[in-house]
Amino acid sequence: MDRNLQRQVANMRKSLFDQGYLDEQFIQLEDLRDDANPNFVEEIVTLFYTDSAKLIRNIENALENNPSDFERLDDYMQQFKGRSSSIGAKKVKTECSQFREYCKAGNAEGCIRTFQQLKQELATLRRKLETYFEMARQANT
C-alpha cells in the first residue's frame, strides 16, 4: 500500500468537498460501497453522465429552437437538478437552481448564459472525479 498515494487521494477527496464540488450526498453514496460493490460510486457517477447526455441535448435544443418556452426549460432543468443532487454534484446543482430562477423570470439570456456555466461545471466535475477515481484505484492496488 502506497501511503503517500493514499494521502494524496484523501487530500484530493477533501478538496473536492472544501471547494464545493461535492456535498453530503456523495458521502451517502460512498457509504453504499462494500466488498462486493467497491466501485459503486464510480458506477453511479458514470451512469449519471451517460444519462445526462440526453437531457443536456434536449435543453440545448429547446434553448435553440424554443428559448421562450420557459415552462419546458424549467421542467427539463428540474429533472436535471434532481439527478445532479443524487450524486452530490453541488456546483452543478447551484447552476441548475440559477437556471430555474431565470426561467421563472422569463430571462432567456440568463438561461443561455447559465447553461454554458452549467456545462462547464459538469465537465470540470467529470475531470476531477475521473482523476480522483483513478488515483483511488491506484492507491488500493
Binding site: Q25, Q28, L29, D31, L32, D34, D35, A36, N37, F40, E43, I44, L47, F48, D51, Q78, Q79, K81, G82, R83, S85, S86, I87
Partner: protein, 188 residues
C-alpha cells in the same frame, strides 16, 4: 450467473414463507418506481444494504403491471408479496400521485403502504399525497437513515393491528422543518 465475490445481498430464492435474513424477520419486498436510472440504482442499493428485496421499475404503468393490474399477467401471488411501494412523484406518463390513486382504488392493493419521494419540497404536493393515503413523503435524495426508518415502520405496521388506516400522518418526532420527512413514529 457469475459469482463476483459473493453478492450476498441478492435474493437467491423466490419468495417463500420463512425466507429469513435475521432470525426473526423475513425480508421486506419493496417495489421501487423511478424513471431516473441513477436514482433507481441508488434506491436499489439502499434497500439491498438494508436487507430488503427490491424490484425496481421505471414507470407507474410498469409498476401496475407488476402488481397484477393494468392488463398484466395475472400472477395473483405477486402483488400481495410486495410490502411497500416506494415511488418518485415526478415521472412522465403517470406521476407517483396518479400511481398512488390507482393503488388505493384497487381493493386488493390498497393495503400496501405507498411512500412518495420527491426532490421538490412543495407543501401542496405533500398534502395531496398524504390525503390520498400515502404513508409518507420523503425528500430526495434518499439516505440510508430514511430507508432504515421506513423499514422499521413497515415491519412494525405489519405486526400491529391494521386499524386507523387513512389517518393523516404528520411528523411529530425530530425537528420538523418543511424539508423533513413526515412520519409518525413513536419515539425510540
Amino acid at each position: 450467473m457469475a459469482r463476483k465475490g459473493g453478492e450476498s445481498i441478492r435474493q437467491r430464492s423466490p419468495q417463500k414463507v420463512g425466507d429469513f435474513d435475521q432470525p426473526s424477520s423475513p425480508k421486506l419486498h419493496v417495489l421501487a418506481v423511478d424513471d431516473s436510472h441513477v436514482d433507481r440504482k441508488v434506491i436499489e442499493r439502499l434497500l439491498r444494504i438494508s436487507s430488503c428485496r427490491v424490484t425496481a421499475v421505471e414507470s407507474g404503468s410498469r409498476a401496475l403491471q407488476y402488481l397484477g393490474l393494468n392488463g398484466g399477467e395475472k400472477k395473483s401471488s405477486v402483488g400481495f408479496d410486495v410490502n411497500l411501494i416506494l415511488t418518485d412523484y415526478s415521472m412522465p406518463g403517470m406521476t407517483g400521485y396518479e400511481l398512488l390513486k390507482k393503488i388505493k382504488e384497487s381493493s386488493h392493493l390498497r393495503e400496501i403502504p405507498v411512500v412518495i419521494m420527491s426532490s421538490e419540497n412543495i407543501l401542496a404536493r405533500i398534502d395531496r399525497c398524504l390525503e390520498e393515503g400515502a404513508e409518507e413523503f420523503l425528500m430526495k435524495p434518499l439516505k440510508l437513515s430514511d430507508v432504515n426508518r421506513l423499514k422499521d415502520y413497515i415491519t412494525r405496521e405489519q405486526g400491529a393491528e391494521k386499524g386507523g388506516r387513512g389517518k393523516r400522518k404528520r411528523n411529530l418526532q425530530d425537528d420538523y422543518t418543511p424539508s423533513s420527512p413526515l412520519l409518525s413514529l413513536p419515539p425510540p
